[in-house]
């Protein structure tokens, strides 16, 4: 957090201490036979290489081009995504929230950091940090302003606080000027933030 920049030297030494403590814990867990380091490596590799916002982007692009899929997705997100073999497997109770010209959806977890990992990968730091978690439910337009996002004044804004094991994925509006685009082309326009509800999908030709 920026207000802590003056503590930089302190943070740095604390980081080293943390690193030592983490290594010690892994050593103990390994020696006691609780974890297999190769399994830990594989978990990390999955999040670094395979599981990320591109998974959600494919789902969104398909919903933009296939009305039957979109309807199925809005009815039961987990079930509909389960029919797409090429996308990362998804757990139960994924709820897909459609943004429309009259309603903008935005997702937060005020109590911790619940996030649709299988669709978006690991959450960014800001999603897990106090400024977003505290303000999203009270001042959603102020939070959106921090992302340079402005909504029409009378648009309904709906904030979904992820307080249980349901997970939420925003289906952003399809940008104009993309008629006839393929799913692959459209997926390139779908940003992570647009699927959290703190951004829009990219507009063709606009600087990103």
């Amino acid at each position: 957090m920026s207000e802590h920049h003056h503590d930089h030297d302190h943070d740095h030494s604390e980081l080293s201490e943390t690193e030592l403590r983490v290594r010690a814990l892994e050593t103990i867990l390994t020696e006691k036979g609780y974890v297999e380091p190769a399994a830990l490596d594989a978990i990390i590799q999955a999040y670094e290489t395979r599981i990320g916002p591109h998974n959600g982007a494919r789902v969104v692009a398909k919903a933009w081009t296939d009305p039957a899929f979109k309807q199925a997705l809005l009815e039961d997100g987990s079930k509909a995504i389960g029919t797409l073999g090429h996308v990362s497997r998804v757990g139960d109770h994924l709820v897909v929230l459609e943004n429309t010209p009259v309603r903008h959806n935005m997702v937060v977890c005020t109590l911790c950091s619940c996030y649709p990992w299988e669709m978006l990968g690991l959450p960014p730091v800001w999603y897990k940090a106090a400024p977003y978690r505290s303000r999203a439910v009270k001042d959603p337009r102020g939070v959106l302003a921090d992302f340079d996002v402005t909504l029409p004044k009378d648009m309904e804004i709906r904030v979904w606080d992820s307080t249980a094991e349901t997970r939420f994925l925003v289906l952003p509006m399809r940008p104009e000027g993309t008629e006839g685009w393929s799913e692959e082309q459209l997926a390139e326009l779908v940003t992570r933030d647009s699927m959290i509800g703190t951004g829009f999908a990219k507009t063709p030709g606009a600087p990103s």
């Binding site: 920026s2 207000e3 802590h4 943390t18 690193e19 403590r21 983490v22 290594r23 814990l25 050593t27 103990i28 867990l29 006691k32 036979g33 609780y34 974890v35 297999e36 190769a38 399994a39 830990l40 490596d41 594989a42 978990i43 990390i44 999040y47 670094e48 497997r89 757990g91 139960d92 709820v95 937060v108 005020t110 109590l111 690991l122 960014p124 730091v125 800001w126 897990k128 940090a129 106090a130 400024p131 978690r133 505290s134 303000r135 439910v137 009270k138 001042d139 337009r141 992302f147 004044k153 648009m155 309904e156 804004i157 709906r158 979904w160 606080d161 307080t163 249980a164 094991e165 349901t166």
Partner: protein
């Protein structure tokens, strides 16, 4: 518990600052912490609700000044000590000194990693009929348990409307304390922003939580 983790509606934390091109991890140790939590959870050393409760019990000043993965580390270490998987002496020494405690599901093997990449299942058979229907008005109870709960403070005492019924799920308030799964109906309940925040709220905003039936009274 009424801890600092329950942040909804608090002021003073400043602007949301997104980091452009943020890496998946900011240091290698963060990735090891994530993987240890996932592996020990899959091995049955703890359930997800217990792990959340241990993060919530980190002292407030430490919670607020620690990074996300630092909190995960602190919660993990303390939980494993308290559940008898390690001792404080072992942590101080940095090596195993005591025999291992059996893991409920056994060590997570490399071959089983793929299975853990999908979230666990939390739906359970219903022990009773649902008390509420879609469209019902409900009041979030004014409860303040000192233990784990998923009812945020900012909705307590407020009236909302049932919008979705997600079926019966493991009840975190019970599971976190290792008192069994105690399945309960889970609903999405929608509140008007102006009801939650009064004149300081945005009249175009609505906020929903997912609330377990024991959190709700008819209104």
């Amino acid at each position: 518990m009424n801890g600092v983790h329950d942040m909804g509606g608090m002021d003073g934390f400043g602007k949301v600052e997104a980091e452009p091109n943020e890496p998946v991890f900011h240091a290698e140790w963060e990735s090891r912490v994530l993987a240890m939590v996932r592996a020990m959870g899959a091995a049955g050393a703890f359930n997800i609700d217990t792990s959340r409760f241990y993060r919530e019990t980190i002292p407030p000043h430490v919670y607020l000044s620690s990074s996300y993965y630092k909190k995960w580390f602190l919660g993990l270490e303390e939980m494993l000590i308290e559940k008898g998987y390690l001792t404080r002496d072992e942590v101080a020494a940095g090596h195993a000194m005591q025999p291992a405690k059996a893991l409920k599901h056994g060590k997570l093997a490399l071959a089983d990693v793929e299975r853990t990449m999908v979230r666990g299942k939390f739906a359970r058979p219903a022990p009773a009929l649902a008390k509420f229907n879609i469209g019902d008005r409900v009041r979030a109870k004014n409860i303040h348990p000192a233990t784990h709960t998923r009812l945020p403070r900012y909705v307590r005492g407020h009236v909302g409307v049932i919008e979705l019924n997600h079926g019966c799920h493991v009840f975190p308030d019970s599971a976190a304390m290792e008192l069994g799964e105690n399945p309960q109906w889970l609903y999405t309940v929608v509140f008007e922003g102006s009801d939650l925040w009064g004149a300081d709220g945005d009249p175009t905003s609505k906020v929903s939580i997912d609330a377990f039936e024991p959190y709700l009274d008819p209104a």
